[in-house]
C-alpha cells in the first residue's frame, strides 16, 4: 500500500565546484569575488536529497514534492533551467543573499517560515529533506534548525537510504564513524532527513519534465518573497585562502622498483 507523502526539499545554490574562489570583504561582510557571475549549481548533497525525494514520491502516488530554495532570483532561475529537467517538483523560491557567510540560524528561520506558509502542506505527512551539509557554509545545522522550528523531533543526518513500509514507518541508514551506517526505524512522518549521497545516480535531463516544471517555476520566481538575513551576533575576524603551497618534487626518471623502494621507506618512516 502506498503512503501519501508531502516532501519538502531545502536546497541552496552554490558556485560550481570547479570554479576558483577568492574571498573579498564588502560593506555587508565577507563574500566571494565576482560571486554573482560565477556559474552556479544546485548544492550537491541537497541535489541527492531531491533525487531521492522524487524517487520516493514516484513510488507513492498522490505524494507531492516541493523544492524550497533561497538565493538571488536571477541565479535561481539560471540553476533551475537545468535542475527542472531532472525530476518533477514545485519550486518555492526565496529571493535572498547567496553564499556561505550569512548565519545559518537566520537562513533556517526564513526557510521555516516559508515552509509553514506552503498552501496544502500537511504537517503529519511531511518529510523534510535536504543535504546534511551545504557546499558553501558546510555547517550541517540549517536543516535541524528548520526541523526544530517546525516542531519535528525525529531527525536523521548523513542519510544514505530510506525504506518506507506499508504502515507508514520507515527504516533509515545514517552515516556514522568508521564507514558504518546506524540503522533506525521511525514510526512515520513528520521527520527530517539530511542526506549524504544516497544511492541514486543523477537523473538524465528530460525536456518534457523541464517544460512541465518551468510552467510553475517562472511564475513562482516572479512572486518570490525577499528575505533579509540577520547576523545574529556573528562576526568575521578574518577570511582568507589557505596559504600553504607545497614544493612538489616531480619524479620522472625512476623505475617502478625504485619508486616502490622509496615509498616503502616513506610508509615505514615515523
Amino acid at each position: 500500500m502506498a503512503n501519501v507523502l508531502h516532501i519538502v526539499v531545502c536546497a541552496g545554490i552554490v558556485p560550481d565546484p570547479l570554479q576558483t574562489l577568492e574571498p573579498v570583504t564588502g560593506p555587508t561582510g565577507p563574500g566571494l569575488k565576482n560571486e554573482m557571475v560565477l556559474p552556479a549549481v544546485l548544492d550537491p548533497w541537497a541535489a541527492c536529497a531531491l533525487y531521492e525525494a522524487a524517487a520516493l514520491a514516484a513510488k507513492n502516488p498522490g505524494s507531492k514534492l516541493w523544492l524550497v530554495s533561497l538565493g538571488p532570483k536571477a541565479k535561481l532561475q539560471q540553476v533551475m533551467m537545468t535542475v527542472a529537467q531532472k525530476v518533477p517538483f514545485e519550486l518555492v523560491p526565496i529571493d535572498g543573499p547567496i553564499g556561505g557567510f550569512p548565519d545559518a540560524h537566520a537562513t533556517a528561520a526564513v526557510l521555516a517560515d516559508t515552509i509553514n506558509a506552503i498552501p496544502g502542506l500537511e504537517r503529519a505527512e511531511l518529510l523534510l529533506f535536504g543535504g546534511w551539509e551545504s557546499a558553501t557554509r558546510g555547517a550541517g545545522v540549517t536543516l535541524q534548525l528548520v526541523g526544530e522550528r517546525l516542531g519535528i523531533t525525529d531527525q536523521f543526518q548523513g542519510v544514505d537510504e530510506i525504506s518506507l513500509r506499508d504502515d507508514g514507518s520507515f527504516e533509515v541508514l545514517e552515516r556514522v564513524e568508521g564507514g558504518k551506517h546506524q540503522v533506525s526505524v521511525c514510526t512515520g512522518a513528520p521527520a527530517v532527513l539530511g542526506w549524504a549521497t544516497g544511492n541514486l545516480a543523477e537523473p538524465r535531463n528530460n525536456p518534457q519534465i523541464g517544460m512541465n516544471n518551468m510552467r510553475t517555476i517562472m511564475p513562482a520566481l516572479a512572486k518570490a518573497t525577499v528575505a533579509k538575513l540577520e547576523p545574529n551576533g556573528l562576526s568575521y575576524v578574518s577570511v582568507s585562502l589557505p596559504k600553504q603551497q607545497r614544493e612538489t618534487r616531480v619524479v620522472k626518471d625512476m623505475t617502478p622498483d625504485q619508486i616502490a623502494a622509496e615509498l616503502v621507506e616513506w610508509i615505514g618512516a615515523e
Binding site: 514510526t187 545516480a201 568575521y236 575576524v237 607545497r246 616531480v250 610508509i267
Partner: protein, 342 residues
C-alpha cells in the same frame, strides 16, 4: 564571565567516553584556563559513572544524564539530555565533539536554549574572548569567527586536539533528570556498507586514494579491474591504511562501468565526500580537479602516483609526484611490505 561546558558522550560500547569527546575535554580545559572561566563536563551515556572515570582527574564539575535511552544515538532523546545538561551548567560557551551523534542534535539544542551554533571548528583562539577557526566552501576558504551572543555552541572537528588522558578513577557526578518525550525512533544497530573487509579506518596513519585510472584501459588495451582490486586491498592489508576514492570512480558503479566492488560513496573524498585527517596520504591514478584537493586538505605528507606529469592538483599540493603506472609500482610496494613483515 564565561562558563564553559564540554558536552561528551560514551563510545559505541558505552563504558568509556569517545575519543572525540576526550579531544573536546582538552579543548575545554585550554579555553577555561585562558579565560579563567569555570569548567564543567556533561556526559550523555547509558552508564555515566563508568564513562566519567576517564575525566575524574580533571577536577571539573561533572554532570550527567544516564539511562537506557541514552545508550543510543537518537535525536529525540539526545536533544533533551544535552538541553538539560546545558541548563544545569548555566553554560555560556558549550564545546562538543563533531561526532555523528552530536552533529545530529546540537543545533536543535542551541535553538531550544535561544543560543547559536558553529560547527567544524578546527582551532580555538582569542585572548579575552573566543575566536573559532573553521572552513567554508568545502575547505577552500578559511575564516576566523566570533559571536557576541550566548550561549554559543562550538562543535569541534575530530583530530584537532589531543585526547585528554587523565588517570581513571571514581568521580562525583551530579545526575541531571530529564523528561523523555514519547520516542518514535528506535535504533536497531549498525550496518557495515560492504560485506567482508572494512576499508574506512579513521584512525589509520595513512590514507590511500584510488582514482578512476585503476579501472581504465591499460597499455594492453584491456581493463584489469580484478587485478586493481587485489592490488589495492593488498596495500590496505599491508599498511593498515584507510581507503578513499575519487567521486568519478565511485560513480562508475551507477553508470554501468567496471567498478571496484568494495568501494561505496562512503569512501568518497572531496567536494561531496569526506575530508579525512591522516598523517600521510598516497594518491594513485587520480587526475586533476580542485574538488580532489578539497578532500586532501587535512592530510599531512602527500605523495601521488600519476601518469600525467602536468596533473593540476598535484603541482603545489603534493610533496612528491611519481610519474609512473600505479599497477607495477603498487604490486612491487606490496611485495616489499610482505617481505618486510616476513
Amino acid at each position: 564571565m564565561e562558563t564553559i561546558l564540554v558536552l561528551t558522550h560514551a563510545d559505541e560500547n558505552g563504558s568509556v567516553l569517545s575519543k572525540a569527546s576526550l579531544e573536546a575535554v582538552t579543548a575545554g580545559k585550554e579555553v577555561a584556563a585562558r579565560l579563567s572561566a569555570p569548567l564543567a563536563i556533561g556526559i550523555v551515556a547509558k552508564d555515566a559513572a563508568a564513562a566519567a572515570r576517564s575525566v575524574a582527574s580533571d577536577g571539573a564539575r561533572v554532570l550527567a544524564v544516564s539511562g537506557e535511552a541514552f545508550g543510543q544515538a537518537r535525536y529525540a532523546s539526545d536533544v533533551v539530555a544535552a538541553e538539560a545538561l546545558c541548563r544545569a551548567a548555566k553554560a555560556t560557551i558549550v564545546l562538543a565533539p563533531g561526532s555523528s551523534r552530536f552533529t545530529r542534535v546540537m543545533a536543535g539544542v542551541a535553538h531550544r536554549l535561544g543560543g547559536f551554533i558553529d560547527t567544524h571548528i578546527t582551532a580555538l583562539g582569542g585572548k579575552e574572548t573566543v575566536e573559532a577557526t573553521r572552513w567554508f566552501y568545502r575547505q577552500r576558504v578559511e575564516a576566523v569567527i566570533s559571536r557576541n551572543v550566548r550561549p554559543w555552541f562550538l562543535l569541534l572537528d575530530a583530530g584537532t586536539h589531543a585526547a585528554y588522558a587523565g588517570e581513571s578513577q571514581p568521580v562525583q557526578i551530579e545526575q541531571v533528570a530529564v523528561n523523555l518525550p514519547a520516542l518514535r525512533t528506535t535504533v536497531s544497530g549498525f550496518r557495515a556498507p560492504q560485506q567482508g573487509q572494512q576499508t574506512i579506518r579513521p584512525d589509520a596513519k595513512m590514507l590511500f586514494v584510488a582514482g578512476a585510472g585503476w579501472t581504465k584501459k591499460q597499455p594492453d588495451g584491456q581493463v584489469h579491474v580484478t587485478e586493481a582490486g587485489e592490488l589495492i586491498l593488498g596495500f590496505l592489508r599491508a599498511t593498515g591504511a584507510s581507503l578513499g576514492s575519487s567521486k568519478s570512480l565511485v560513480d562508475q558503479g551507477g553508470e554501468g562501468e567496471s567498478v571496484l566492488p568494495f568501494l561505496t560513496h562512503l569512501n568518497q573524498i572531496g567536494q561531496t565526500g569526506s575530508t579525512p585527517r591522516h598523517q600521510k596520504g598516497l594518491s594513485t591514478c587520480c587526475h586533476g580537479e580542485e574538488p580532489h584537493v578539497v578532500g586532501w586538505r587535512f592530510i599531512g605528507e602527500r605523495r601521488a602516483i600519476s601518469l600525467d606529469p602536468n596533473c593540476g592538483w598535484t603541482r603545489g599540493k603534493a610533496d612528491v609526484v611519481y610519474v609512473a603506472d600505479a599497477f607495477p609500482v603498487i604490486a612491487k610496494v606490496n611485495a616489499l611490505l610482505e617481505a618486510k613483515k616476513a
